[in-house]
Symmetry: C2
């Protein structure tokens, strides 16, 4: 049960900290493999799950069928571009009041919400014009 150190886990966490684009397990795998060539994909999945269970990283399910991971665990919202699929952090005021809105006519216990926004990112807006 007790956690033991592993170089692989450290490299996974370190890599994730350098990125703001919310990479998938596979992208973590191909990148960490540059520094540590025989790391296995299973190890990447296991450690991403472990790190997110410990609350050191965040797992994002954005409806595209692939899990994304984020080293930034502070509360913030995400935007997904409908065109290029990129995932961006949004800097916006909290919308957590919607949890209360939802609870008004509900008999169970609402604990929270999952929200993400979609649309066209700045780059894709530009590309469409030209």
């Amino acid at each position: 049960m007790a956690l033991k150190y592993s170089k692989q886990r450290e490299l996974i966490k370190d890599f994730l900290c350098t990125r703001k684009d919310h990479p998938t397990a596979d992208i973590v795998y191909t990148n960490v493999r540059q520094q540590y060539p025989n790391i296995s994909l299973g190890t990447v999945y296991r450690n991403l799950t472990l790190l997110s269970d410990m609350g050191e990283i965040q797992r994002l399910r954005l409806g595209d069928g692939v899990d994304h991971f984020d080293a930034d665990t502070s509360p913030h919202n995400h935007f997904v571009c409908r065109q290029c699929g990129c995932v961006l952090d949004l800097s916006m005021e909290s919308i957590d009041h919607i949890t209360e809105t939802a609870g008004k006519n509900f008999s169970g216990k609402i604990e929270g919400h999952i929200t993400y926004f979609y649309g066209i990112c700045e780059n894709c807006c530009r590309d469409t014009l030209s």
Copy 2:
């Protein structure tokens, strides 16, 4: 290109209209098969996609790795029970103003949001007490 009638599609739509629990493709398949024993799973998937592309039904991605389907296409929000996994409709005031909130400091174009709420449903609340 033109749509042609199919008994299978009719049965899928009809079944979905009888249900308020947001079934998955597999549940649609096993149920419709009671009335139409040799319908194939591929047909169910194809028609669910077709119906949702036409806007006759709604596809829900709730982060549990399986798509759910809803014959109710009117705008409403969903609740997912963390314990039993059930999916319920919420009757609540609109929260679509969060799209504007998100757009305030954002350079791209925000078109909408995907939101669902999670917690413990009424039934599971009761079960936990006893």
